[in-house]
Symmetry: C2
Subunit: 432 residues, 2 copies
């Protein structure tokens, strides 16, 4: 039986998870891979008490691992785009296969990394970089290979989904739940990365490249965070038959590819609208298969390790048969740039919430403005004014409209004397 040697770089959350799952499930993993799999070296600046490293060749200099001639597969679980990039570059240059869980690295440097890997005939596998334990890269690159993908939409940041779920279930506000998420370890001290959609955008651009055969272009995704969502938006949405989720959407349209991350109202009958807490899910709509959905843990030590090890097994299966890598890094033999659609040109539905004088004619002013811009109202809710209040909240959901048109209409509404303050707006997608 052939033997495949793993060099594990990093012993943080995912690194220790990978170490421990590889150890615990080694029998099943080897039977699946058809070869012996050995953790031949671990590179980590410090040990992790979660891992029993007795008898393991541990190096404090992570670069020792990529220079070790016995290592077949370098598993990069350091994170970040500095040392991690050096490790991956050196591993490829040394003719080693690479497995990584690093979404930032792939989203920002994937094009050059994949080109270098191709030139060397090695694999750079990154299942764990998108949606943790969900085998979505494999599904898109292989399982749906017969389809032209029309669109995909995903809850691909567990922190954001946890916050929105808690706000809705427990009637708590954003800041309150964020503080709890930080205490539980779901959110970082600086939550920007999760809450403002940057992490989701990293994953979205990878999924979009897999869907639409285009190079990775991280800096092009439109991102809007969830910090402006109020608890009562979630409650109004519920009344109208919707849930609010932080969604990454990539869609092929005649004008080009849409790439956007933002809070979104989704009909509550959709399966993805029922994905709660820290869980992730991605809907992929293929022209042949129709909608498919993939659900699971999007982060965490062992869920992410599950995907890291799946990639290790894929490569080990090749090595055990002396086979060549056969699946292109982004699924297609050739990629080409596609025009991207500016967010102002995107067509979507809109949820609007505004504070209006509680007197006759106000609603008619609002609907006239909408109608002048070719926007119709799908559904509406008007709250009764509070005791001693003279204003009432109007909530409505518009038909599909180009964003630019909607913004003009909203600014006209905000100019009405009968409307107080700004009109709060959230995009709506049917995902049908």
């Amino acid at each position: 039986m052939k033997s495949v040697n793993i060099g594990l770089c990093g012993l943080g959350t995912v690194g220790s998870g990978t170490f421990n799952v590889l150890r615990r499930n080694i029998e099943a993993i080897q039977s699946r891979a058809g070869c012996t799999i050995t953790i031949a070296q671990v590179g980590a600046r410090r040990d992790n008490p979660a891992c029993d490293l007795t008898g393991v060749n541990v190096s404090r200099d992570i670069f020792d691992v990529v220079e070790n001639p016995e290592i077949d597969i370098v598993v990069e679980l350091i994170g970040g785009t500095t040392v991690a990039k050096d490790i991956v570059d050196r591993a490829i240059a040394n003719g080693k296969h690479v497995v990584t869980a690093n979404k930032a690295l792939i989203a920002e440097y994937g094009n050059e990394i994949f080109a270098a890997a191709d030139a060397k005939g090695v694999v750079v596998a990154y299942e764990a970089a998108v949606a943790g334990g969900i085998p979505i890269v494999k599904a898109m690159r292989e399982g749906l290979a017969g389809n032209n993908i029309e669109w995909l939409a995903g809850i691909i940041n567990g922190t954001g989904n946890f916050i929105l779920t808690e706000m809705g279930d427990k009637n708590r506000d954003f800041a309150d739940v964020l503080a709890e998420a930080q205490k539980l370890g779901y959110a970082e001290a600086d939550p920007t990365f999760d809450v403002e959609g940057i992490d989701a955008a990293h994953k979205l651009v990878i999924l979009a490249s897999l869907a639409f055969a285009m190079p990775l272009q991280y800096d092009k995704a439109f991102t809007e965070g969830i910090s402006r969502i109020e608890t009562r938006d979630i409650q109004y949405a519920e009344k109208l038959g919707y849930r609010i989720k932080h969604i990454g959407i990539a869609r092929r349209t005649e004008a080009g590819i849409e790439l956007r991350v933002h809070p979104t109202l989704i009909p509550n009958k959709r399966l993805i609208a029922n994905v709660n807490g820290v869980m992730n899910a991605i809907v992929v709509k293929g022209d042949a298969v129709g909608p498919t959905l993939y659900y699971g843990a999007g982060a965490g030590d062992e869920p992410t390790a599950s995907s890291v090890i799946a990639d290790i097994v894929d490569i080990a299966r090749l090595l055990s048969r002396d086979s060549m890598p056969a699946v292109p890094s982004l699924g297609f033999a050739e990629l080409s740039d596609k025009p991207l659609v500016d967010i102002n040109d995107v067509t979507t539905g809109y949820y609007l919430r505004m504070l209006a004088d509680d007197k006759p004619g106000v609603l008619s002013q609002v609907t006239t403005i909408l109608s002048n811009h070719g926007i119709s109202i799908e559904t509406m809710h008007q709250s009764e004014p509070e005791e001693s209040e003279t204003t009432a909240e109007i909530v409505l959901i518009t038909s599909q409209i180009q964003e630019r048109e909607l913004l003009t209409a909203v600014s006209e509404m905000e100019g009405l004397e009968t409307i107080t303050g700004s009109v709060h707006k959230i995009r709506v997608e049917s995902l049908g």
Copy 2:
């Protein structure tokens, strides 16, 4: 660029879907495969008006296809286990790779077919045989390769799920909805195959082998159909916070592997409880990844074609690199028989519905019997007797209990003078 020649056997629903999707999406498919893919021959007893066969080499003798030396991949879409088996056997003997959507063939003859394919060094791929367009075989065999699978549970028969969904949503009875399903083409004239769980059992044994590294053993699955489910069971279940689904379950326990298809109450908060209509979904619980779910169309021309073509692309990718097949047919290099658990030894919760005299002490008789058998009550509902009725319906959900024990308790209840008729029972699974 290398060229891979497809021989398509069968032009029924899936055959015509495969032909048309291959034609329509050929550009993306070839870019994914890294080679030219040609439908070099079609074997079909008659043409299908859904397919434009102009210029296509069509043979009325399906066996011409497997004898054609130019064919690299035989795609068997005939169905059944007679001619289809001969086609597959001959294709393998002639050193051709095989793609099939035939669940009965794989479930019943997979062991010998895979052995023959191994001996010849060819692939027999069958993604389309389980849950139509959902890439679940790939997920289990590759995407979750790092896990020891603990259990899986699936809605893997769309007809049954359509019937149960309609019964619940529209308050219609089984026979009524079945007749509609037959009219819509979702159910056959003889619905036994779908409604009694035989089709689901075919898929379940395949999934169980992929999960637990054991040979296929179709005849060993316990199956119970949905024809005894009444609309009011669905309504009571809803009141208690559950949905009724026809589920195939495979579970690893200390006593062995459970393999069972039966109607099942599932908590309505579970994502799979919200999978409605003809859609399929499978939950797979891995020890590292936790629960994951895969959802999509479980049947139909183009959804099934999606999986057929994914398998074609997998094989074409190998052929284009002169690589050897690297993924074992059932995911593991070695399979071994595992003991199966008799249904009487299975531990599960139970929904019980009974007609009881509406007088003091009856409920106490029932709970005493349950308690004597170590069964506690999780939740209960007692309906008010109708005007002029002297009996009322008691519905309850028990704690987890061994089936044998539950059956004894039920037979004691049925012996009570205060209970009329038999106690209606449905299994309950938390799938947590």
